[in-house]
């Protein structure tokens, strides 16, 4: 559930091994179910077909594992002569996942054995990374923001704030404070946490809240949209939510916007513009999730930017600078296994909070992005 670690490349080598193990386990279970109704041991011919997108290598591996499991159960696969049992195994799938279908024919008897199999979702290998990613939390419920305050990590969800303490190198749950918003959250949920005078503040469209960690972990909310700093380390941009929407407004911008970075706004009109509404040339590929971070290779700020489009399966993050009104990519794009659902400047210098919804698992994965100067 929780994990903490060093900066990792997206994609873990262990995933492929875990996947192979699970298919081997499936072979064992299927062999047991095939042999169960048979009254005797004997030779068996095996016909195999694959109706799924499972690759040939994995499919062959499964077949080999199945043959081995059948052999252990006294059913000797044979390729010649008259087998006593004919077995046709189909790797199929239905709306719920993989389905192994075995047609077992012995004499005049024909039986059908099925084994549903929800295999673990494969973790996709990702290319090289210039921007570092430190995974922090993963959960099925949406995560809207993270905040590190007084050595505690706070995670904001649609119905609560959860606190974690570092124990033995892991973030361990230490408390939950339920939240009652003044209004329903917008359908496209965005929210912000910042360090406040009594502990922390939470801002959602239509509601502003104050929270404390001690002596009691609790949060109280009032209706209304208070101003807050879009980037806690940049006092120049105070913003407030628009009630019931996913938009921000500010005295510093002419039109409502989704997010801001380095003086540029992802506007509700679907473009990147400056405070007067003038578009930023070369920003066509920018999505609406943008955030600023200190430039590690020079002075000033740079923008971390998601990709444009309606993509539900993948997204990406890339770092840009705007030099003399021109957009310059300063990092390679990091592919992400799901759409970015939150991208906020973190309370810690040089860091950004990223939340994605993994399109394979459906889980929300929160990370901290760092930007290091490339060698």
């Amino acid at each position: 559930m929780l994990r903490v670690g060093l900066a990792l490349l997206f994609g873990m080598l262990t995933a492929a091994r875990a996947h192979a193990q699970s298919m081997g386990e499936a072979a064992g279970q299927l062999a047991a179910r095939i042999s169960s109704p048979l009254q005797r041991h004997g030779t068996v011919s095996l016909e195999f077909q694959n109706l799924t997108a499972v690759g040939p290598a994995e499919s062959s591996s499964f077949r080999a594992a199945l043959q081995e499991e059948l052999r252990k159960l006294g059913l000797e696969p044979t390729g010649a002569g008259q087998p006593e049992i004919r077995l046709r195994v189909t790797l199929s799938e239905n709306v719920r996942g993989l389905l192994f279908v075995a047609e077992v024919t012995s004499g005049e008897n024909r039986q059908v054995v099925m084994l549903p199999w929800n295999r673990p979702p494969p973790t996709e290998a990702k290319p090289r990374v210039k921007i570092t990613i430190e995974p922090v939390l993963e959960q099925s419920e949406a995560m809207l923001d993270l905040l590190l305050v007084d050595s505690q990590l706070l995670a904001l969800s649609p119905s609560k704030v959860s606190s974690y303490k570092m124990t033995g190198g892991k973030w361990m749950p230490s408390g939950i404070a339920g939240v009652s918003w003044a209004r329903p959250l917008p359908r496209d949920q965005h929210a912000r946490m910042e360090i406040g005078p009594t502990g922390f503040r939470v801002f959602v469209p239509g509601t502003s809240c104050s929270g404390m960690l001690e002596p009691e972990f609790k949060i109280t909310c009032e209706p209304g949209n208070e101003n807050w700093l879009f980037n806690p380390r940049d006092p120049l941009l105070a913003v407030r939510w628009v009630t019931d929407q996913n938009l921000l407004e500010s005295e510093s911008a002419k039109v409502p916007f989704y997010a801001a970075a380095t003086g540029w706004f992802a506007t509700s009109e679907g473009r990147i513009a400056d405070r007067t509404g003038a578009p930023l040339a070369g920003s066509d590929g920018w999505g609406s999730e943008i955030s600023s971070v200190e430039n590690p290779c020079g002075s000033g700020w740079m923008a971390l930017v998601s990709a444009a489009g309606d993509g539900q399966d993948h997204d990406q993050i890339q770092a840009y600078e705007v030099v003399d009104g021109q957009v310059v990519a300063v990092s390679d794009a990091i592919s992400l296994p799901g759409p970015v659902t939150a991208l906020w400047p973190a309370e810690t210098r040089g860091q950004t909070t990223l939340v994605i919804r993994n399109s394979k698992t459906g889980n929300y994965e929160a990370s901290r992005l760092g930007v290091a100067c490339a060698e």
């Binding site: 109706l51 189909t90 199929s92 799938e93 239905n94 709306v95 719920r96 996942g97 389905l99 279908v101 047609e103 059908v112 054995v113 099925m114 549903p116 099925s140 419920e141 949406a142 649609p158 119905s159 329903p184 959250l185 917008p186 359908r187 496209d188 949920q189 965005h190 019931d244 929407q245 996913n246 938009l247 989704y258 992802a266 509700s268 679907g270 999505g287 609406s288 999730e289 998601s306 990709a307 444009a308 489009g309 309606d310 993509g311 539900q312 997204d315 990406q316 759409p339 970015v340 659902t341 939150a342 919804r357």
Partner: protein, 425 residues
């Protein structure tokens, strides 16, 4: 009430749906939908909601109920209703406001049901076991509604009815107080029975004629969801297998559906059950029978059904069977169009068994065991009362200004989902 003896089935709140992609959705705007049919059924779930929902895998999830429990006999069920939900007229959702419509719908299905409402709780007491209750409750027939003036439909869904002209037009407005967050669209106008292609979204029914669509319209097809089949209760036993063997589904799929349909070998499509390939017909010689002419009734005013009927009649001749297609009902053989209602294979088989007059075939269905589905489906096919022909998808044209359409339609409810759709100005 001995709560400790009950099995807790669910205790979670449905997370509010997040649809964020890299380009965030835009609030506002109006969407126009043109439907060729004159029924508003496909959009009713935008207005009303049910206690539970089915996700796209056919699994039950919380809806207006956040938790439920039952006794071991499955006769007594207790539901905890979601707090802070209001109807479109401002009335809060509670046991008292939910019970009337739910009770009426349950009695149609189960006969006598005793409902006790208290606060945010509803307790249902059935005379007999109701093992399929959760799947039934996910059906829009079981929606929690109230009737307004002149019978107007008042629900808790993301849209409220603004204008309702039966058979012609349904205008919906965003419900600002929706518990799941206001929908992105300000309004939706559904024009019924138009057959036009001028809306932002329009359905494309199957017909014999190829249509030239407006420029830049993208086509969206659902997974196949409708079964076209022949049924009969009166045909002689030797005729049915011969007719089944004689029918060539390839021209129906390739020509009549323009490759959008799929050959139907069993009752459920492969994507739903995963074993439909087992019903592939064994090759054999078509028997030569000499039968008296049989009438084949197809749905009236349905050009596609008529074309399929004519194709089937042509094939039947190869087996010496004379089928006479007619739009008049009451034929010895009937063509039926049965739409799937959910991605729950066991529930769908149970429903189809009822339609085939053999509900007892569904008695041993277990939603977690595909083998029981197969056995029930095999038995229904072997009873020689139905010959599946083709499965059809739903097809829509979608204008380029419409966003998030494809993702929004991923649901266990086979209806139009517009709550997460947004549009360019």
């Amino acid at each position: 009430m001995r709560l400790h003896a009950w099995a807790w089935l669910a205790l979670s709140s449905l997370p509010l749906l997040s649809v964020a992609g890299a380009t965030l959705p835009r609030y506002g705007g109006a969407l126009t939908v043109d439907l060729s049919q004159d029924s508003s059924e496909p959009v009713v779930p935008l207005i009303t909601e049910t206690l539970v929902r089915l996700n796209e895998k056919g699994e039950v999830e919380p809806g207006l109920a956040v938790a439920w429990q039952r006794d071991a006999d499955r006769k007594r069920w207790r539901f905890s209703l979601r707090p802070k939900v209001v109807f479109h007229d401002g009335e809060p959702l509670n046991g008292g406001t939910a019970a009337p419509s739910l009770g009426a719908a349950l009695r149609k299905k189960y006969g006598e049901v005793n409902i006790t409402a208290g606060g945010q709780a509803l307790v249902l007491q059935f005379d007999r076991a109701a093992p399929d209750l959760l799947t039934e409750l996910a059906n829009s027939r079981m929606a929690i509604v109230r009737s307004g003036e002149k019978g107007a439909l008042i629900g808790t869904g993301p849209f409220r009815v603004a204008v309702w002209e039966p058979g012609r037009k349904l205008a919906l407005a965003a419900f600002e107080g929706y518990w799941g967050g206001r929908p992105f669209l300000d309004s939706v106008t559904v024009n019924l029975g138009t057959g036009r292609e001028t809306g932002d979204v329009f359905d494309i029914p199957f017909s014999q004629t190829r249509r030239v669509l407006p420029e830049r319209i993208r086509i969206w097809s659902s997974p196949v969801r409708e079964l076209i089949a022949l049924v009969s209760e009166s045909v002689q036993p030797e005729v049915w297998p011969a007719l089944a063997l004689a029918i060539d589904r390839a021209p129906i799929v390739n020509v009549l559906t323009q490759r959008r349909g799929e050959a139907a070998l069993g009752l459920l499509p492969q994507w739903l059950n995963g074993y439909a390939f087992l019903f592939a017909p064994r090759k054999g010689t078509v028997s030569q029978l000499r039968t008296a002419p049989l009438t084949l009734s197809y749905p009236a005013n349905d050009g596609f059904a008529r074309a399929v009927a004519e194709r089937v009649a042509l094939n039947a001749r190869d087996a010496g069977i004379v089928l006479q297609p007619t739009p008049n009902p009451g034929g010895a053989v009937r063509m039926v169009r049965w739409a799937l209602e959910s991605p729950d294979a066991a529930a769908e088989l149970s429903r189809l068994a009822g339609l085939l007059g053999a509900p007892e075939r569904a008695n041993s269905l277990n939603s977690a065991k595909p083998e029981t589905w197969y056995e029930a489906e095999r038995a229904l096919l072997d009873a020689h009362r139905i010959i599946p022909l083709v499965y059809l998808p739903e097809v829509y044209g979608v204008a380029p200004r419409v966003h998030n359409w494809e993702a929004a339609q991923k649901s266990g409810e086979f209806t139009l989902h517009l709550e997460n759709v947004w549009v360019d100005p």
